[in-house]
């Protein structure tokens, strides 16, 4: 299974904590909303990234950031 970040666009309220915690995976657009590396699906999370990713998921004030496991 490959793990990727996913943003719930309705829940996201542009707090921007995720981009601070995961600068290699998340950029912010001009309105402060997260842009995932490699577009909507996000780049696969490496083993080393997963702890930081989990921390970012827990830090999101609106629970808009998730880690999704996909077969590919």
């Amino acid at each position: 299974m490959i793990k990727r970040l996913r943003v719930d666009p309705i829940a996201c309220a542009a707090h921007g904590l995720c981009a601070d915690l995961l600068p290699d995976h998340i950029d912010l657009d001009e309105w402060g909303y997260p842009i995932l590396a490699d577009g909507r699906t996000g780049r696969p999370l490496g083993r080393d990234d997963q702890r930081d990713a989990r921390a970012a998921v827990e830090a999101c004030p609106t629970l808009a950031l998730r880690i999704e496991a996909t077969p590919r």
Binding site: D8, P9, I10, A11, C12, A13, A14, D29, E30, W31, G32, Y33, I35, G39, R40
Partner: protein, 339 residues
Amino acid sequence: MANGCEGEPASCKDAALLDCAPHLVLDGIELVARTLGAESAILAIHDGPDGPGPRLRTLAAQRQGPVPVRVRGVPARYVASEETALVNFLSGGPATPTTSPPRPTDRGVGGAPTLVDNIETLAHIALIARNGAPWFRELGTPDLPGTLLVSIDGAVHTPGVVEVAAGTTVRAAIELCGGPSGHVQAVLSGGYGGAWLPATAIETPLTHTAMRAAGAALGVPTLLPLPSGACGLAHTARLVRFLADQSAGQCGPCLFGLPAVAADLAAIAAGSRDARHAHDRLRHRLDLVTGRGACALPDGAARLTRTALDVFSADLRDHLTGRPCLAAGAPMIFPLEFR
């Protein structure tokens, strides 16, 4: 759930179908309900003081189908007819899209798995059940058999809905509405979140594959010819402003991005001193709004804009050098009211 509420101002085929052949739609709903073993069936429509609701409720009540068909009015708004928005509204929430997954087929109205089909599809199913698949395939193309209901407005003599065999060319469909009322420079296809098709592509067949290959989309089949005198960029600016106003305001890239895209387009359409900067910003912003909403509204607005910059590229050069089209300030010729 039968989706009979077209959230697309340029489309009036669902209203026409419910007006002309309501029992065909009800036949299709009952067939699918019986086949799925559905516990309930809903026909979602746009209702209002002069709407089709009372008539459809009377017709539905006269039937002896496997399940009663409940007719429900849904707000006339662009995003309200998106399937997650319909499910949300009919489950007691607002008529706005929700995050998916879960898809309605997994968790839909009231939590039950829900199949959402357009009423034209259901009418086709009723006809196939009566006459058989070979009969249905007599018209259309191998990859898109049967017929299409196409809404045609803009620069044509008699705007309206026509039923054509799939694969009919854009030109032939427009001819069925009395032909163009002037020289046509481009045709807007697939609704306001669709794509501009240059006049050179007017022989494109109405199928998903052919329209995609021509850089457009069949989408909700609508054809809106734009006459030579009109400004395609100004029309696009107004349409994107309309789409921005239709946003449910739930997703940031749509809530902030579409008004920004509309403003950039308006600056270009007006040939303002800021037009060049607006154009640079616009190209960047189109990438920012694409694929980042819960529904396809921002993607549609971006597609419309990209194809406008492409199809009206000669006009664009003039607009960017302070020489906008003479008709840039003229009124919009496409409808913005919901049917």
